[in-house]
Symmetry: C2
């Protein structure tokens, strides 16, 4: 089954992917932070049954993973693939995730909330992500009772998620806004409209390769439709700014622009060891170069897929490797992809 | 006619080339610094006649260039190729150079001394360079009278050249001694044995790409044979040290060693602009990599020839170019040489 990030759509524009996340809790149980082990296990069982025992093809397409007992390396790989969050990685109590075969959906159980429904689609397609999340939300609600207050909306462990429990986000590739530092100004301006700009792995994480998440800050007092509309307006602004700055940088020094892109190709084709940070920077330049028509050359895989593949835990599938060995394995992997002579 | 630096011998070892220079003056004329224009012209005519009017094939293989009236760019190219010295470039009075078709010999007229015979051979072959210089010295002496004192030897403008007037030198590629800073210690130690280590373009010039000149300091009180023997001993020491340090660097971090070499190849194959300094550093790594068997790949031209070809004035044969244009032309030239896909 092809994964969403294998679609050519992830490389076609500034927007890599569109994501929706719904936070839900079961009325009968305390929040995960206060749960007993048996309660945590009961919640997992109920949610698993609600999704997997569904008679529709949708339910059949999910795989269940018990996360707390998984090896640490496999868990970290799931974080790198955005299948689970860093919070679930740290969870000591029984916790789990339901993953759709194409990885467009992951339903985390006993993360900060009992249920976190996450849908993700390649390119700029937040409506499709929302429709699928909404459908799954309804499916689960057929068999479990959500914690819901008619004045507030959905009750969540953290007050910032109260109400709709909805976080919608775009993953964007904005290398020029990053290089010029303008991402910080834009981030400040957008925060006034209730929009947050964060690093690629969510809250508190650093950016890697010019990739950021743009999402709504406010979940309460706005309808789902309003939240999505506001975010779409924000993303138009981000795209517009990146395009303007990119054009200005290129026009100021066309040769320097092409030079940076081709040198990055030279590194990926020749390095014998490379860190995840440097590889991400090189892939970022190649993604931009391909979009801008600078590189005649095309990779055999979408850049974002490579971006995931080079992350530390993906680089040590066969067990624990030292950082130095990973850097060698990463360089070797990239040379193969980039057609070493 | 193939030039000496097109020989594969220039890339086969640590020693790139072997050079001999003889300083001579005509008895009847003041040193160039005190010469009148007509005297300078007379010296040029006499030396030219002595060499070119020779009935042997040797004399026929020389070309004569009046240097003081040449365009500045062409003069600088001759400096970059080691055909003339920076001193002759600056000479305002009539001055000239006789160049053998394969560039193994250049005879500068009215540089610091009336005559500077310079011979240069690829690889480690100082004896051949000496034999040819000696032969030309005798040839010229057949028709002109040298300034010579039986106690001192040959009289020269600068006291440091008095006696034999001989400077013998090896051009060496010692990237590891440079990278570790050990070239400075070695240079200090060798000076105690009357040996000087200098940058690639002679006295006071900086090193470029790990290339240095190792030559005798003393010209007086030693026979030519003693000078050559002393220099040969020094060069064995230099080669030995470079090999030891190179081996140690490689053994400490084999992957890092190969990584640097391949990344340099990536830069040469991909850069859209490159400075002479960076290009020299990359060529240096490739020369070392080829010698050490790290690079499977071979350039179509000897590395030292490329090294000369990328120098600023060689990069603007068609007239005056700005530094930025030269950097673009240099990158384009190198991509063509390094088989851009």
């Amino acid at each position: 089954m092809a994964k969403w990030y294998e679609s050519p759509k992830v490389d076609q524009g500034i927007v890599i992917s569109s994501r929706v996340r719904l936070a839900r809790n079961l009325k009968k149980y305390p929040f995960p932070i206060r749960m007993k082990k048996e309660e945590a296990e009961a919640v997992i069982q109920q949610v698993k049954d609600a999704v997997i025992n569904d008679r529709t093809p949708l339910g059949q397409s999910f795989h269940f993973y018990q996360v707390d007992t998984m090896p640490a390396g496999e868990k970290r790989m799931m974080v790198e693939s955005h299948v689970i969050s860093p919070v679930l990685l740290q969870q000591q109590k029984p916790c789990a995730v339901l993953v759709k075969d194409d990885e467009t959906v992951s339903i985390m159980i006993n993360e900060e909330d009992h249920i976190r429904i996450q849908t993700i689609f390649p390119g700029e397609d937040i409506d499709q992500a929302w429709d699928l999340a909404d459908k799954l939300d309804n499916l689960i609600e057929e068999t479990v009772e959500y914690a819901y207050n008619e004045h507030v909306g959905y009750i969540t462990a953290c007050p910032t998620n109260m109400g709709t429990g909805l976080r919608a986000s775009f993953m964007v590739h904005v290398p020029s806004l990053e290089a010029t530092g303008q991402i910080n100004n834009l981030s400040q301006a957008l925060s006034k409209f209730g929009i947050t700009v964060r690093g690629i792995y969510g809250e508190g994480s650093a950016s890697l390769g010019g990739i950021y998440q743009v999402s709504n800050q406010i979940t309460l007092g706005q309808s789902e439709e309003e939240i999505l509309k506001n975010l779409k307006n924000a993303i138009h602004l981000v795209k517009d700014q990146e395009q303007k700055v990119r054009k200005a940088i290129r026009e100021r020094d066309e040769v320097g622009y092409e030079d940076r892109i081709y040198r990055a190709l030279g590194v990926l084709q020749n390095a014998r060891k490379i860190s995840a940070q440097e590889a991400a920077d090189c892939l970022s330049l190649l993604r931009e170069g391909a979009q801008e028509g600078v590189l005649a050359w095309k990779a055999s895989k979408p850049m974002y897929e490579l971006f995931i593949a080079i992350q530390p835990c993906h680089m040590q599938k066969d067990g624990q490797k030292m950082a130095a060995e990973r850097d060698v394995a990463r360089a070797s992997y990239l040379r193969a992809v980039f057609h070493e002579k």
